[in-house]
């Protein structure tokens, strides 16, 4: 292989890896979108509105 081909190989590898990375990110994006729609249906399917987010506090009942 000549100098020029090695050059193309080097830049090609970099380009392919970055492209693969972008593809992985795109796949993650699709998964996130699917999950969001799932959660949306979960929210709609519940009749009662979801409980408020503040912590469930167990009261202590000190003895008389």
């Amino acid at each position: 292989m000549s100098g020029g081909e090695y050059l193309a190989l080097a830049y090609g590898v970099v380009f392919v890896v970055v492209l693969a990375y972008v593809a992985i990110i795109a796949a993650k994006l699709a998964r996130l979108q699917r999950e969001t729609t799932e959660i949306l249906e979960l929210a709609r399917s519940r009749e009662a509105p979801p409980r408020s987010a503040e912590p469930v506090v167990q009261k202590i009942s000190p003895t008389a």
Binding site: P55, V56, V57, Q58, K59, I60, S61, P62, T63
Partner: protein, 194 residues
């Protein structure tokens, strides 16, 4: 002595302890009950500082040197004898007159005869009694006991009852247990974890 607001603990996605509030005055006795997996052990590990809370605030009015913790595990070396274990922890906790205190505790919990035997040769109940000696060795101000009666036989349980009665009003105690009736006369506060 202990003040906690909205104390919660998660390990990544798993929630080990639902938010809980605790207010325990000095020399109070808090009995924590709840089914397995409700977070009793997690709460106690948070109180002694073995785990950091994920959310909420916690203030324990005593530092490690005035704190005694009895866990599910005896927290002693299997290959060392009872005396060697208590000697090691005595040094680490800077206990004054270490030998006398160790001897007295081993005597009180019926382990004096077995003092030179390796813990590996101990039964589960004897190991639990040794763990109690280790927990009380440095006369801690705050005593945190995780299901102390779990492995004790009748005689061991009676020894523990006598010990706790002796400390009532002198020490702050937090106990998690499945037999709250046994601590009915001692408890000044109760916390039921769902």
């Amino acid at each position: 002595m202990i003040r906690a607001r909205g104390l919660e603990k998660r390990y990544g996605r798993r929630r080990a302890l639902a938010p809980v509030d605790v207010d325990l005055p000095r020399d109070g006795v808090l009995v924590v009950t709840g089914p397995n997996g409700s977070g009793k052990t997690t709460l106690l590990r948070l109180l002694v500082g073995l785990a950091a809370p994920t959310r909420g605030s916690l203030d324990v009015g005593v530092d490690r040197s005035r704190l005694g913790f009895l866990a599910h595990e005896p927290l002693v070396y299997r290959e060392l004898t009872a005396l060697e274990n208590l000697d090691l922890f005595g040094r680490l906790y800077r206990v004054a007159e270490r030998r006398e205190r160790t001897g007295m505790l081993l005597e009180r919990f019926g382990l004096w005869e077995a003092r030179n035997e390796r813990v590996a040769a101990y039964s589960r109940g004897m190991a639990q009694r040794l763990a109690l000696c280790r927990t009380l060795l440095h006369e801690p101000d705050l005593l945190v006991l995780d299901e102390p009666y779990a492995a004790l036989d009748e005689q061991g349980a009676a020894l523990l009852d006598r010990e706790l009665d002796g400390l009532r009003g002198l020490r702050t105690i937090v106990v998690s247990t499945h037999e709250p009736r046994r601590l009915e006369r001692l408890a000044t506060a109760r916390l039921a974890l769902a």
